[in-house]
Point group: C2
Chain length 593, copies 2
């Protein structure tokens, strides 16, 4: 059975040594002293390892069941959800006004990683509620906030996002779900939504569905889409629950993974709904949820990769097979442990350097969100908007690959469900798909975000890399060679790719879009390269300063050197693909596939 | 529900236009006229699409069940097996002496791809029997051949390979299964074997287990391993079945995929076994099976990729979502089909260019086997021995990635089991693991095969590439630019990598082994590059010659150009990783992972 240990020390290193949170000037960050955050992470880690991890396999095996309109979650989920709620975890980074603890997104992200790593399917119930609550917080009236948020912040009520219909996923303009105005300000919602995570279950007394629908007589396509609050049980003025609304689960999907989360077909049959935000501006409101959800999904990619990696390390140290080519390392045993073999090392180093780099990437992203929300920093807002598809697309693609590599370390045992490694790959797989499949992320990045505000955000990113290199070069020859130079080279590749898009995308947009996936991955590598350079620099400074835990910082530097030497050079391949243009990609008539 | 169409036209193109089989001079190849092979492929294609494909999903859902020592295969498997046997398919490339049709491996490989693509789990029952029969053919006494082969060639009896034990997979020297000589030439076999594919089932009247075990008092480790024939039912002198032998299934494994194949724990409790080949030379005999099995597994990687690709194409043409960025292509519909989008194209072209290239690679490999076996061509034997780990490791790694890409085209529907795309990834995953995990293939390639016979086989490979380039350059400027030049560059990268190993592997073997996975992939890309250059050249010649089906050949050239422009340049990245050496890979103490 897999185990999970929360990466509390690594989180502290990133937040304090690398991001230097308390010195950032972001409101609320001054309270994040190392002792304080360590205490939070330790408690969250206990919940993750002790409570959620043991339920992960159970959730996978039992799945959810639907009987007579009632969805039952796996054994132990309901009791664990009560415990998570009692600890106040769901409201960690929600406003105090609605019962939250008002922590920054930085802390929410760190804790979210632990919960997701130990049990992704379980944590989704809470995660979707968080997203729905954020949308109400951003777009709801005061009355709506007062009516729904306290119970959603505590997870007494959970939330959902209803976008997809059988014939439309990415292209929401094709939507058929209708909203008929009732004259009293409410609407009757009718239609079918599919792939609704946590759509129906037995862990909350009410479920608040956020539903995209078209108001009758409104504009065609995506411009006629509005967002509605559709509670499972209507809520009375006094906050008590009223009659059951006209929304019901039709079926639950049999999926490749995340079996512990109920993925529902939801039927809206004249259900009462309340407009959230403005008429026909549903996409804008939905994007509040989507952007948050996309970062959360990126985090899932990292989380599954780390959990799988931890178990692969255990197995590689434990399993005796063959002898080290450079001489026996375990002379008293019948064979050496797998970890002596270079190709096993290569795989583990790929996993380790990815997860630690991605963790820094996610936490850096969270500081940008906090800077945007808490300090009104528009530049941070623009930058995180640019980075969102990279965090979602790159981290989940790579995160999935890492779970496959971790599974591979187990050999045949990796393929047997009993050992639990298959679940990591099956659960991680969904992150590449939902909240906008990764191809859509790449399209969003290259087709929209890159040129946004005249390309100023990507310029700011290049300046940031350049600034780091300038500020930190020349102090340590080895550091310059191992970190600064590779980062410069990778950033140069990315600039060349951007230039290619500018020069060739105008005359034929396919020249940009055919390279969108490569650009997203290239951008991700440069971000992780920057993270590793920052982490390496922090580790170097700690060692120069005579830090007591030298082994930790030496390991950081060694792991970073691996990433810079072996992973970051992928940018050159991505560049060469991008520069080959759209011609070979678009050459065939559809009939010739 | 997924569909499968046999690639009969593509097989004919490769065999006749590219490999020019009938002109090769290999005994038996003169009979392979285009009409004749087309007739075989058409019949095999019907079995694949009509009989095996519909059972693929059923096999996945039902799996195998064990009750009172009896393993039941999924609904329809037994009847289909009877039909496959009646058609004589299992003995296609087996000697006529034992009831086979004596076709070359080339034809066996082509038909095997179709069967595997339509139903991998089902086809394994037949595939393992083929491997076991080959081992008996190569190492058995005449009496053993007469006793077992006729029924194995027809698949009246099936076969298995028993290597793995709970504590030992790759490192078979740790084996504990014992063989006690009985004085009458037989042995009593005692021990437990795990992960035994087709170990027990209800489709054959007898099962011939080939079992590795250590004869008591023999040498320690791998040098004391012998191979035994252990029939489920003892076979009487007259060929009739005798008493049940002391071998029984202990349990069946719950796996990530290939649910239709029974993966068994087999308990040998003083079972009567008969030495196959020489005492303590079991590994040599086993490798007859292993090498054949490794090529067969490489073929599975290709087969699953192609089946998944075909369905991804259907979906991409059918699913309407969004509009082409260069202008509406389906003005009468609510949206354009997915296939108009450049990133979907990119994914489909990756899949298409891989599967067609890998198909040529596998068939070329089969001609080398035929040349070795039928013409006694030692150079061909050495080359295919070098290529075997590349075919197994590269084609299954990439094949798996392609199934993931095909699944991704489906968006959310790809994650729902009902649509069948998850099964392709789950089934394809095992091919990276069994018959030697791909890390072991890379080790075999770089640690053993590369330097075999003084490196003469890899030199021969380079000469082959050089010869092709020399012979075919200068006739068509575009062909030189699009095919010859990229192939030369990739081959140069691979030569540089080989040189790096020679110069740095001696002083520290880790410098070679840390790059083994990259080298295997680089080698694979060069092989597919060579295949595409050969296919492109054949297509070019056909067009110059005024071939009637111009669209087919134009499509070949366009697909090849994609591979050369976008996939083959990966060799440069692999080279840079290899040249970074072992230092960053081996830097950490095991405790610091």
């Amino acid at each position: 059975m897999p185990r999970y240990t929360a990466p509390t020390k690594d989180l502290s290193f990133i937040i304090h040594d690398v991001l230097k949170a308390t010195q950032s000037g972001i409101p609320g960050y001054d309270e994040l002293e190392a002792d304080f955050t360590a205490a939070i992470f330790e408690e969250a880690g206990k919940i993750a390892s002790g409570l959620l991890q043991p339920l992960n396999t159970i959730g996978d095996r039992e799945g959810c069941t639907l009987e007579n309109g009632v969805v039952r979650t796996p054994t132990g989920f309901k009791a664990a959800f009560e415990q998570v709620k009692a600890g106040g975890w769901p409201g960690l980074d929600m406003p105090e006004q609605y019962g939250g603890q008002n922590m920054p997104a930085l802390i929410g992200t760190a804790v979210g990683e632990m919960f997701s790593a130990s049990n992704q399917a379980f944590t989704m119930y809470q995660g979707l509620t968080h997203g729905a609550a954020s949308a109400i917080l951003a777009h709801g009236t005061d009355a709506q906030k007062d009516m729904y948020l306290p119970n959603m912040v505590s997870c007494e009520w959970t939330g959902t996002m209803n976008l997809t219909e059988p014939h439309c996923g990415t292209d929401l303009g094709l939507m058929r779900t209708k909203a008929a105005p009732q004259g009293d300000g409410s609407y009757k919602i009718t239609g079918q939504k599919i792939f609704i995570s946590s759509g129906e279950h037995d862990m909350a007394e009410n479920i608040i569905h956020l539903v995209l629908a078209k108001i009758e007589g409104g504009p065609e396509g995506i411009k006629g889409v509005s967002l509605f609050i559709v509670p499972k049980f209507n809520v009375n003025e006094d906050g008590s629950l009223g009659a059951r609304n006209g929304v019901a689960v039709g079926s639950i999907e049999e999926k490749m993974g995340i079996h512990g989360n109920s993925t529902c077909v939801m039927n809206y049959d004249g259900a009462t709904g309340y407009l959230l935000g403005e008429q026909h501006k549903g996409m804008r409101a939905m994007f509040t949820m989507m952007n948050e959800a996309r970062l959360g999904v990126g985090m899932q990619g990292l989380a599954q990769a780390d959990a799988a990696y931890q178990n692969a390390v255990d197995y590689a140290k434990d399993r005796l097979q063959g002898r080290a080519v450079t001489g026996t390392e375990n002379p008293d045993g019948p064979a050496d442990p797998l970890i002596v073999h270079p190709d096993i090392r290569r795989s583990l180093m790929e996993q380790k350097s990815f997860t630690e780099g991605a963790r820094a990437f996610l936490l850096w992203g969270a500081t940008l969100i906090d800077a945007a929300h808490r300090s009104g920093d528009n530049d941070a807002d623009g930058l995180v908007s640019l980075l969102t598809p990279v965090i979602k697309g790159f981290v989940t693609d790579q995160g999935y690959d890492m779970t496959v590599k971790a599974q591979q370390v187990y050999g045949g045992h990796g393929y047997i469900e009993e050992w639990g490694m298959s679940q990591y790959t099956r659960d991680a797989r969904i992150a590449m798909i939902y909240e906008g499949a990764n191809g859509v992320q790449a399209l969003d990045l290259v087709g929209r975000k890159l040129a946004q505000d005249g390309g100023k955000h990507v310029m700011a990113f290049f300046d940031l890399v350049k600034g780091f290199c300038k500020d930190n070069a020349g102090q340590d020859e080895a550091f310059d060679r191992d970190f600064i130079e590779p980062l410069k080279a990778a950033s140069k590749d990315m600039q060349a790719a951007s230039m290619y898009f500018v020069q060739n995308g105008m005359k034929n947009p396919n020249n940009a879009l055919a390279g969108s996936n490569d650009f997203m991955h290239m951008f991700g590598h440069v971000c992780l390269g920057l993270m590793w350079a920052r982490m390496g620099n922090a580790a170097r400074e700690a060692l120069v300063g005579g830090a007591s835990d030298a082994a930790f910082y030496e390991t950081k530097l060694a792991t970073g050197r691996y990433y810079m030497a072996r992973q970051l050079p992928a940018t050159a391949l991505h560049l060469s693909r991008i520069q080959s243009g759209a011609e070979t990609v678009m050459a065939l008539d559809a009939a010739n596939f």
